[in-house]
Amino acid sequence: MDYLIHIAILIGIYSILALSLNLIVGYTGLLSITQAAFYGIGAYATAILLTSFGMNFFLSIIVGMIITGVVSLAIGYVLSKFDGDYFALGSFGFNIIVYSIFLNWQSLTRGPLGIPGISKPSLFGLDFGENIIFLILVIIFALAVYFTSRFITNSSFGRVLKAIREDEKAIEVFGYNTLFFKLTIFAIGAMIASIAGALFASYITYVDPTSFALSESIFILAIIILGGLANNKGVVLGVVCLVILPEALRFVGFPSDIAAQMRQVTYGLILILLMLYRPQGLLGEYKL
């Protein structure tokens, strides 16, 4: 049972991440491979604020979101100068730079040692230490993100995003400032990812740089491409598939080191096969 709750919590956290990236890649058509960087900033913000300053978890989420928002605006502004392949490559680069900062800014992040002993959230005397209660918290956040995302994409703002994805030049001719829209959605996506980071840090009670490497960004990208770009239900389906699949591999009896590599093989192959045979994913509404 504990194990099932663990899986459910992971699905919740990855759903938040995947929904956030879907706003950027699926709805706006910006192939960003740097979501793990924002996930990491959120996680480290919570880790540092909780362990060094004893701040409340929920307050730390807000602080983390503000920091991520500022960083993502700066990164997004630089990336807005590029398009297509170069955008992807540049975003790639930012993931590596942020990862190096986690690894090397030892006085702040303790480098490869990571930050242990992050406490579980509590609010008004209500303690979220039990996994089942933590799961409820994660579900609340995931639902909030899901409906926020749906609200954004159904609004007139969301329609402009889709228009940018289909034909940026055309929508510019109509007088829309596309830079504003792209930056806003990039920052919103990043801030949502930072919430997932905060939940992850508090759940695992430990953060270290390896959780936020480039391969994690590729994993999140694989999730949304499998589930379906620009389709939130599809994205959640993608999360369920890709979180459960490697766990199943573990049950087949692979040792944990091999199982970790098998996970990589699985999602690498999924990416290749999808690109070859079904580039829109399971339920996607947009093809890369």
């Binding site: 392949d85 930012f94 590596i96 690498g268 690109m275 070859l276 093809k287 890369l288």
Partner: protein, 289 residues
């Protein structure tokens, strides 16, 4: 051993290795027209193939090297046949190519780790253990070979592209694949050969890195990034540009970590890339688009 001459030597060695990766990457980019992010893993395949032939099967080290390079070339050729050729036939967008290449990279890297463990390993035999002194800097025999080979490969490539029929066909395909096809050039055949040659070069680079330091499954990734960055700052698709960019990157990295710690190397190279993309997106020698 003085610090500045040693830094210069290190920069040149790094530049030589990067330039091999950049040459192959540029060659592939020129004909197939996409960022082949899966290219880096071929260096690891070359390195591990040599490791397998020499350590597990006990072959002579020189035979192992030749086989290893060919294995890398063959794997690159197969990937092109199985994945990229089909995508090209479907006229997939460059983003689809890039995501597929990410998949190739992730899969092959993990397969290597499953077969050989993700530990850092060294070859059982070395090829040259001499060290030389140049202006107060120390250079090993392996590094000297790497430097020589990178220069030789560059000249061979330049001469091939300029003076052979095959080279001219490559140029035709990279200028305009459609027109090349119309005048009777077998574009798919040319692209396959380019993948084979490019992958052999990657394999060789991986083998040399293996002799210089050692091999690990993820080695290809950082080599690829350096190769890509070098290509872009030199000018994508331009052979001289790739080499120039590689040596420039080698110098920036090695002198960059003179004052700050070595772990920042990757961050430094990416900062260089982003500065170039912002202010000179076509690179130093790149043509205006």
């Amino acid at each position: 051993m003085e610090i500045v001459p040693q830094l210069i030597v290190n920069s040149i060695i790094a530049g030589a290795i990067y330039s091999m990766v950049a040459l192959g990457f540029n060659l592939i980019y020129g004909t197939a027209k996409f960022f082949d992010l899966g290219y880096g893993v071929l260096t690891a395949i070359g390195g591990y193939a040599v490791f397998y032939f020499s350590s597990t099967l006990g072959f002579n080290i020189y035979i192992s090297i030749i086989l290893g390079v060919l294995v890398a070339g063959f794997v690159g050729y197969l990937i092109e046949k199985i994945v990229y050729k089909k995508l090209r036939a479907r006229k997939a967008s460059s983003m689809v190519f890039m995501v597929a290449a990410l998949g190739v990279m992730t899969t092959l890297q993990a397969i290597i780790a499953i077969l050989f463990s993700s530990q850092f390993q060294v070859f059982p035999a070395t090829i040259n253990t001499q060290t030389f002194q140049i202006f107060g800097g120390v250079i090993t025999g392996v590094q000297l070979i790497a430097l020589t080979l990178s220069i030789v490969i560059m000249f061979v490539l330049v001469l091939t592209l300029r003076f052979t029929k095959f080279g001219k066909a490559i140029k035709a395909v990279s200028d305009d694949a459609e027109v090349a096809k119309m005048v009777g050039i077998n574009t798919d055949g040319i692209i396959s050969k380019v993948f084979f040659i490019g992958s052999c070069i990657a394999g060789l680079a991986g083998v040399l890195v293996g002799f210089d330091t050692g091999i690990e499954p993820i080695m290809g990734f950082s080599l690829l990034l350096k190769g890509v960055i070098a290509s872009i700052i030199g000018g994508v698709g331009n052979i001289y540009g790739g080499v120039l960019g590689s040596f420039l990157l080698g110098f920036i990295e090695n002198f960059g970590i003179w004052k700050i710690s070595g772990e920042w190397k990757d961050a430094i190279s990416f900062s260089v890339l982003i500065v170039f993309l912002l202010f000179r997106p076509n690179g130093i020698l790149g043509k205006k688009q």
